[in-house]
Subunit: 330 residues, 2 copies
């Protein structure tokens, strides 16, 4: 009968075994911990423009942008474009600036056709003004704004690339439509595109503005725009035009550099012919271009100088669409 | 007889006249000075890349660059290229790195065919080393270096534009030949061009190096290169290759950004077929590309990490050669 003797060593054995086991387990854990510390660190080649896996709507406000699209009398185009733009990578939210005064927004219909990839807010306006889209919307959470006209379709590839370019040039208007001003011996400026003579020296052309109807820019500039002289608002309201020229003046003055960086689009389309509304956009007005030259000169007066600067940098995406689009004879 | 009386009033008159005249002159000068202050200031549209009128050889060291061209066994090509490059706008001086050991430089002939637009100095080397061109030459007076292989012809238009781009990206290697590294699951890197798979995410290709055989970079990097670990010199000497890869590692490490900015050349030519020497350049050696992959991995060891970063920015000149080269369907 082993009762006392057996129990005692058993208990002692038990305790020793317990201790021994604990020690062994602790040692094993320490060794495992040491081993993980010795694992080779994975050397990540940091891609400055890596696209993350699709996130939920809580996409980082630093790595995403807000689309601001003003609309007037082309709701069919708006909805067609929203179906396209709502799915662009890195999009955080859409703000539709509703210039159809007194008319109901398509919000109900929009919601009934959900779910949607991102939130879309309809900002009902009280007056049909061109500069409504340049308000400092409280809904804006991102550093970047993508502003698009309600008749312009730019491919997702172009937008993704241009957004990555904006992230490298955040103080500039990075977009797809370059324009320029030229000065004349009389001192009066004129506005135009490549059909105008090349300004300055050297060969090739130059641009001094990138239009905001298809461009990325820093949301801080919307804040800055609220502090413009009254004369600027009056000019835009008088012409129902030139808000984009005014923005280029603002940015150029702020940076002391060319306001824009031009990214050559692969696929950009104007859909205005597709609208059922019959409404074809402000730029068809006879006086449109003359107005813009007028605006340039008025803004020079308001700014007491010409802050716009020229650039001849044209950016394209390396190896896209053609993977050898940089190939040369060498 | 008017003597006393006439003289006195005459003298008095004379003094008064003198005083009056002086006062009038002074007042006129003051008025003129005030008027010049009121003249409208000439508002210059500052062109960031304006080409100045041809200067004498005392061109500002900030607005000009030094061409460094290393040469071995292709003096005929060298001289042909020098005739072209000596006339590039904004060129300050040419430094020829003479790797033809024991052979006389063509300096006498060069001088006998003067005058030349810029000074050309022949730096006689004692050993035929690939990295001879990466010395910190005391002859260097400019911030910018243009480094060209002795068989590469790049048009003046391309060089003028690329120089203006470098001035906007002075910490980068701004050039015409992009290359990349890719990593593989084994962790071993490989070197190549667009025939290799696209690294990373997103569409299109990427580059992580711009070769210095046709590029602008800051002369400060030649200084920095003198402080590289011995292992880097040993690697370049062992392979007689990879000095350009080493420079890209240096620049990427220094900036924490992609080392290069790729400017798409309009007119770049390799003249090696035109040489009488029969010598056709190091890149024809069977092991050339394998060596470069080898160098990438060795440099990662030396640097204890991979500092190279990818970029997909391709820069072209707006409106050149075709003044509407940015036109789109809109």
């Amino acid at each position: 009968r082993c009762f006392h003797f057996c129990k005692l060593p058993g208990r002692v054995m038990g305790i020793r075994l317990l201790r021994f086991t604990s020690v062994v387990i602790i040692v094993l854990l320490l060794v495992a911990g040491a081993l993980t510390a010795l694992l080779p660190t994975i050397k990540d080649d940091k891609l400055p423009n890596s696209r993350r896996e699709p996130k939920t709507q809580s996409q980082s406000a630093l790595d995403s942008f807000t689309l601001i699209m003003q609309t007037y009398n082309r709701t069919d185009l708006l909805l067609k474009l929203l179906n396209h733009y709502q799915a662009i990578p890195h999009l955080h939210k859409v703000i539709v600036v509703w210039n159809n005064i007194g008319e109901k927004t398509p919000e109900e219909m929009w919601n009934s056709l959900g779910p949607h990839p991102v939130p879309v807010v309809f900002k009902v306006q009280t007056v049909n003004r061109m500069r409504n889209r340049l308000q400092n919307f409280p809904d804006l959470e991102t550093k970047a704004v993508l502003m698009m006209d309600d008749d312009t379709l730019v491919s997702a590839h172009d937008l993704t690339f241009a957004f990555s370019v904006w992230q490298q040039f955040p103080e500039h208007i990075v977009g797809f439509v370059p324009r320029k001003h030229i000065s004349t011996p009389s001192g009066v400026y004129s506005y135009g595109s490549f059909e105008l003579q090349n300004p300055g020296f050297g060969n090739g052309d130059r641009y001094s503005m990138v239009l905001i109807g298809a461009a990325f820019f820093h949301s801080g500039y919307l804040e800055d725009f609220q502090r413009q002289p009254e004369a600027v608002y009056a000019l835009i309201d008088e012409t129902q035009n030139c808000d984009d020229i005014a923005m280029n003046f603002l940015v150029a003055k702020h940076t002391g550099k060319p306001s824009g960086v031009f990214v050559k689009p692969v696929d950009i389309r104007n859909l205005e012919k597709d609208t059922n509304s019959g409404y074809s956009g402000m730029w068809h007005r006879a006086e449109h271009l003359l107005q813009r030259s007028y605006c340039v000169n008025k803004l020079v007066n308001i700014y007491d100088g010409m802050p716009l600067k020229y650039s001849n940098i044209m950016i394209s995406q390396f190896g896209f669409p053609n993977y050898a689009n940089h190939k040369n004879k060498m």
